[in-house]
């Protein structure tokens, strides 16, 4: 090559000139390529960036939709409020540090450039006190404006900085785990630390303010932003007030969070009865359902696909007015979280084009109201009834003697957690859904560890939707319809309980409850073999062992599944599926027959939530038509929106799932009538298992009382009820070894015993069929009818008081 070049161009001078020319051409080509890259490759992005200076965007806040109850009462609403927010840099002290550096730099730029980093730091430190003093004065001025002490301002400041650090640490930790997993090797932790939008934002330091303070703050801000130095040059002198803002916060208010409820005690069980009504203050009414708001966390917007500022493929910035900005709030749980997309609305904006003087306006889209099926007054009443102070959600002496002291069963006088649901049968609308213990917003703010840290009482958990229990005998009416509808038993068939146990080969198991307690068979108690309705009324285990045995595993699973066990109901709120075994699994079990028999009386491998139980009863009352329960009545398509809401289900351990709609279970109408008739007998006949409370004469406190008292003492309403005493899984303390929020093993025994259930269908006088269903459960309370029955009775009274019958 070289030789050829020499032959072609013998003169060295020319060859060198050619070399120089080649180098220059190459360099110019590089410049040209980079120019093409910038103008054509990144042109759109850079054009948008450059032209963004012509656009002045002013955002207009929106109003979040209200949450209303079924009668139009406001459960959650936005209220205008103003607060003073200060930039993170001022809160952390970075502002005075940067101002000090700028100060020294401006004094002598040339000298500044000559300085080493250490010298620059030292020079800046000498003047920083000027700016620190400005910040200190700001705290005094803010304290005066907000009517608080400087110490309080300082505490708030420290709290904000600490929170930012925590969030930053948390995000970095998640980033570290994610990136390390992606790369399949641990990354340097420093790489995981990213700048958060919150770090460049404003944080409320005084909230909310009165009008006078607001005016004073605005004046101060106006002076700061129009500040001129002695030469009249704008913005040369910088006041720390330029980093202060008055922000429109729109506080979320929950007007019915605290209510006073008058409880008529004249219909309570005799030992608790009084002619004096009692007024009870209820806090946190409906809090599990309504939910709360929280600030947007780092990563929320990305996860929801709702970032405010987005870049398209060409790198141009787009703004999603529905998107989230730092400082925005979002629903944390309940309807606030699940129906976020409906409630939130979108900001409006004005875009002023400085180059053309055009102004574009987009009006804000107000969030839509969400109307719940809940009657907040009834909700408060039911909550009051389930408050231990009233006495019904406590173990009472009429339950019976305390068992073995070694056992962890609740003792007389112990408080009982539980849940209750009231539902309209035809529409599936839930009128009240109470989970106890509950909590108030104040408790959540002040002692969150009490709300989240207690695994057994777990006040944060909505037991109606997210805790599953063995159903016990409340399933027996359903079993009767399954058996008859699938022709394994005839309507008029009777089954005799001759021995007190079902399997002669195993007399210690699969017994009738009467045989266990009183050593009496049903033949002895009733004097004859029982038909289906009597079996329901007397809660005869032998009858339902027989039905279950004939249905077999497949029939039982199919039957229970048709009534909604083992799948979310599609209520539109986050809920769990409960437990219904898989047929293959059940078939593979050695003690398959035992399990099938147990499932016949609502024990063994089946668990459901109170909402599933109530909905199954509603399906029975509809003559075998199953449909999803509803918490939200409008907008009409709200349930579908909630299912697509990606934040649905967070923090509550369940997801919004299940199909919304209805299906015919093709139940035998005679069987349905018989099952409901059995429930009527259960609640109203002297032999009914849900009929009476028995007061033990041996106890001195009961000596004045009659021997028995009916559980239900309402007038004008027919009650069809069935109790259940479900042998419950022992509750052990969950231990989370790896801190992932899920238990890895279980420790000490906290509770054992039986859950107490009562489900009731209510038929007002004049109606031709039941209109409402009430379902209540008390955890580990013992005897179902005796413990949960009085609560259901009082709920019916409460419904009457609210005008439902």
């Amino acid at each position: 090559m070289r030789r050829r070049l020499r032959q072609f161009m013998p003169r060295m001078f020319y060859r060198r000139l050619l070399l120089v020319l080649a180098v220059m051409v190459f360099a110019f080509l590089l410049l040209g390529i980079q120019m093409v890259n910038l103008t054509l490759g990144r042109g759109a992005e850079l054009q948008s960036k450059a032209e963004s200076v012509f656009i002045k965007r002013t955002l207009i806040p929106t109003v979040r939709g209200r949450i209303l109850d079924r009668k139009g009462r406001i459960l959650a609403t936005d209220r205008p409020a103003y607060q003073i927010a200060v930039h993170t840099d001022v809160l952390t002290g970075d502002w005075s540090y940067r101002r000090a550096r700028w100060h020294v730099y401006r004094m002598d730029r040339a000298r500044w450039r000559e300085m080493s980093d250490l010298e620059q730091e030292a020079a800046a430190a000498r003047v920083q006190s000027i700016y620190d003093a400005q910040v200190k004065t700001l705290w005094w001025e803010l304290a005066e404006l907000g009517g608080v002490t400087v110490d309080e301002i300082d505490q708030q400041r420290v709290a904000i900085v600490r929170k930012l650090q925590l969030i930053k640490g948390d995000v970095a930790q998640r980033q570290y785990v994610r990136r390390s997993a992606e790369l399949d090797e641990p990354i340097d932790f420093a790489e995981a630390v990213i700048d958060l939008a919150e770090e460049r934002g404003y944080h409320a330091i005084i909230e909310p303010m009165d009008q006078a303070a607001l005016l004073a703050a605005r004046r101060k801000l106006s002076e700061a932003h129009n500040g001129r130095d002695t030469d009249g040059r704008l913005g040369v002198t910088q006041s720390v007030w330029q980093w202060v803002r008055v922000t429109d916060t729109r506080n979320r208010e929950y007007p019915h969070e605290s209510m006073e409820v008058d409880v008529d005690r004249s219909t309570l069980p005799l030992p608790l009865r009084s002619d004096e009504p009692v007024t009870m203050r209820m806090d946190g009414v409906g809090i599990h359902l309504i939910g709360a708001m929280r600030p947007v966390w780092a990563g929320d917007a990305e996860r929801l696909g709702l970032t405010f500022e987005n870049k398209d493929d060409a790198g141009r910035k787009n703004y999603n007015l529905y998107g989230y900005r730092p400082g925005d709030r979002t629903g944390q749980w309940g309807v606030e979280a699940t129906y976020e997309k409906i409630l939130r609305g979108a900001r409006g904006q004005t875009i002023a084009h400085l180059d053309t003087d055009e102004v574009e306006r987009t009006v804000p889209v107000a969030g839509r109201d969400v109307r719940l099926s809940i009657d907040i007054h009834l909700q408060a009443r039911v909550q009051a009834l389930m408050t231990p102070e009233l006495g019904l959600a406590k173990v009472q002496p009429w339950r019976g003697e305390d068992p073995d002291p070694e056992k962890k069963t609740p003792r007389i006088g112990d408080d009982l957690p539980g849940a209750a649901v009231v539902m309209e049968i035809d529409s599936g609308e839930v009128l009240a859904a109470v989970s106890m213990p509950g909590f108030s917003r104040e408790q959540l703010a002040q002692t969150p560890e009490m709300i989240f840290g207690d695994p057994y009482w777990s006040p944060f958990m909505n037991r109606v939707l997210t805790r599953a229990y063995q159903p016990g005998s409340v399933v027996k009416p359903l079993l009767l319809t399954m058996g008859v509808s699938r022709d394994v038993i005839d309507l008029n068939d009777t089954i005799a309980d001759e021995h007190g146990y079902y399997l002669p080969s195993d007399p210690n198991h699969f017994r009738n409850w009467s045989y266990n307690y009183y050593n009496l068979t049903m033949m002895q108690l009733a004097g004859h073999a029982l038909r289906g309705d009597e079996a329901v009324a007397r809660s005869c285990n032998i009858y339902f062992f027989t039905v279950a045995d004939r249905l077999g595993a497949a029939g039982l699973i199919e039957g229970y599944g048709a009534f909604g066990a083992g799948r979310p109901t599609g209520s539109g709120l986050p809920e769990i599926a409960g437990e219904l075994p898989d047929l293959r699994w059940l078939n593979a079990q050695n003690d398959k027959r035992g399990r099938v028999l147990n499932m016949g009386i609502g024990q063994g491998p089946i668990r459901w939530t109170p909402i599933q139980a109530a909905n199954a009863y509603a399906a029975l009352a509809r003559g075998g038509f199953w449909q999803s329960p509803k918490f939200v009545v409008s907008p009409e398509n709200a349930n579908d929106v909630s299912r697509t809401g990606e934040n649905a289900g967070e923090n509550v351990g369940g997801g919004v799932g299940g199909k919304s709609g209805g299906e015919d279970l093709y139940l035998n109408p005679g069987a349905v009538r018989m099952a409901i008739d059995g429930m009527w007998q259960s609640a109203n006949e002297p032999f009914g298992s849900t009929h009476f409370l028995a007061y033990n004469y041996k106890k001195p406190e009961f000596s004045e009382l009659p021997k028995r008292e009916p559980i239900f003492n309402v007038t004008g309403v027919q009650v069809f009820a069935k109790s259940g005493t479900a042998d419950a899984v022992k509750f052990r303390r969950p231990i989370d070894d790896d801190g992932d929020g899920y238990p890895d093993r279980y420790g000490e025994l906290l509770r054992e015993g039986d859950h107490a259930w009562v489900g009731a269908l209510l038929q007002p006088e004049g109606a031709d069929r039941p209109t409402h269903v009430v379902m209540a459960v008390l955890e580990y309370a013992g005897s179902g009818g005796k413990m949960a029955g009085p609560i259901v009775n009082q709920i019916i009274h409460a419904m009457q008081a609210e005008g439902y019958f």
Binding site: R6, P10, R11, M12, F13, Y14, R15, R16, L17, L19, V20, L21, M24, V25, A27, F28, L30, L31, G32, Q34, M35, V36, L38, T39, L40, R42, G43, E45, L46, Q47, K49, A50, E51, V53, F54, R109, A110, R113, E114, M115, S116, D117, L118, Q120, L354, D355
Partner: protein, 412 residues
């Protein structure tokens, strides 16, 4: 031999022509001057984009520059060569005085932290601009018959001489102008026939120095750094900008970020005068008349305008190299290659900074940037080049800068 005889006859004929006839006949100088005028015209229009008053100022400087250009046509190349060294020495003395504390501030004020201007009332002059021209001429005069640079020691001596003005300009500090001397001398030595292995060694050392400095910036602690803090920051800012990291865009990377944004936004055909003016104003591009004038060019006339400007430079540089090829006078040859090197280095650094390929270094874009000193110096250079191009080349019996004996031998 035939072509040599022919050229000496034609040279003799040309020597008899009156001087004005020499200038009017077709020669490479016309191409040079055409490119320079075109570039200066682009400059005036670009400056006028954001400041019509500055553009009229530039036109006034352009008229003065034309007068100087005409003046440069008069002396014979030999006289220019003889005077180059003394004039360079005068420049060195002036540069020396400027960086000593003896000179009063009113005469040599500190502008943007640099003492690179001499103030005469409302007028200012930047001696480093003309120092570049006379450095090229002086070195060309020195090296025209020398052979010393064929040894490594001789080569290093040339760079040692260069260090005198470079150090003084560096001290002002005006890093950009100081930097231009190195590639200029290097290119002159390349065509003068310095040994490639020695030049390769120098390139290797330069690359190593750059690499060590870069490595130091990113790897070593603050107390072990070789560059000044603001220089380190500019390098960090440039690499951050290349990686899409925005942490410097409001500080050290502000100028470059704005430059890239405004260049990219220009698209294919640019925004036109009014909108470009608004955009540049609203984006607060610093130094938009001087170091960042190329940004204005691309923003106003787009990629096409940018490429046209670069093509004009390429044509100008090509004309210089063509002149070096056709002229037999070693002084002329080295001078015009040096001028080409000067323009090439300035364009490379200026445009390189603007498009984000080099860290920020303040340097003017020849002919286009606003400023009297720069424009005067450039047209002095053009005047001298036209002078060289118009006059008949002296007849030399020995081909100069031909050290490749094997090739010559083979041919004979």
């Amino acid at each position: 031999m035939i072509s040599a005889t022919h050229s000496s006859i034609s040279a003799r004929r040309l020597a008899n022509l009156p001087t004005w006839r020499l200038y009017l006949r077709p020669h490479v100088g016309w191409l040079v001057i055409g490119c320079a005028w075109a570039l200066a015209g682009i400059g005036v229009a670009a400056i006028g984009t954001t400041s019509p008053s500055a553009a009229s100022g530039q036109v006034r400087w352009l008229i003065i520059s034309m007068a100087l250009l005409l003046g440069c046509l008069l002396p014979r190349p030999r006289l220019i060569g003889r005077l180059a060294v003394p004039i360079l020495i005068v420049h060195v003395v002036v540069l020396l005085l400027m960086v000593t504390p003896l000179v009063p501030r009113w005469l040599v004020p500190s502008v943007n932290g640099a003492k690179s201007w001499i103030r005469f009332g409302s007028m200012g002059f930047q001696p480093s601009e003309t120092a570049k021209i006379f450095f090229v001429l002086a070195m060309a005069w020195r090296l025209r018959h020398a052979r010393g640079y064929r040894s490594l020691r001789g080569l290093l001596t040339q760079f040692g001489i260069m260090l005198v003005p470079v150090a003084l300009i560096f001290k002002q500090p005006d890093l950009g102008t100081a930097l231009v001397f190195v590639p200029t001398l290097f290119l002159m030595l390349v065509v003068a026939g310095a040994r490639m292995r020695h030049l390769g060694l120098l390139v290797g050392v330069a690359v190593a120095v750059i690499a060590i400095n870069l490595a130091a910036v990113f790897l070593l602690p603050e107390n072990m750094q070789l560059l000044k803090p603001h220089q380190q920051t500019r390098i960090r800012a440039m690499f951050a900008q290349m990686q899409g990291d925005t942490k410097y865009i409001n500080t050290a990377g502000f100028q470059q970020d704005k430059a890239i944004t405004l260049i990219g936004s220009g698209g294919v055909a640019g925004y036109g005068k009014q909108r470009a003016s608004d955009l540049i104003e609203m984006n607060a591009l610093p130094e938009e008349h001087n170091d960042m004038i190329f940004v204005v060019v691309v923003n106003r006339w787009g990629l096409l305008g940018g490429l046209a400007t670069l093509s004009l430079y390429a044509l100008l540089i090509g004309s210089f190299l063509l002149l070096a090829m056709v002229n037999r006078n070693p002084f002329v040859r080295l001078s015009v290659v040096g001028f080409a090197g000067l323009i090439f280095s300035q364009v490379l650094i200026n445009v390189g900074v603007a498009v984000g390929l080099m860290p920020v270094t303040g340097i003017t874009l020849p002919f286009v940037s606003y400023g009297g000193s720069s424009l005067l110096a450039m047209f002095v250079m053009i005047g001298i080049t036209v002078n060289f191009a118009a006059r008949p080349s002296a007849v030399f019996s020995v081909a100069n800068f031909e050290y490749d004996q094997s090739a010559i031998t083979k041919r004979t």
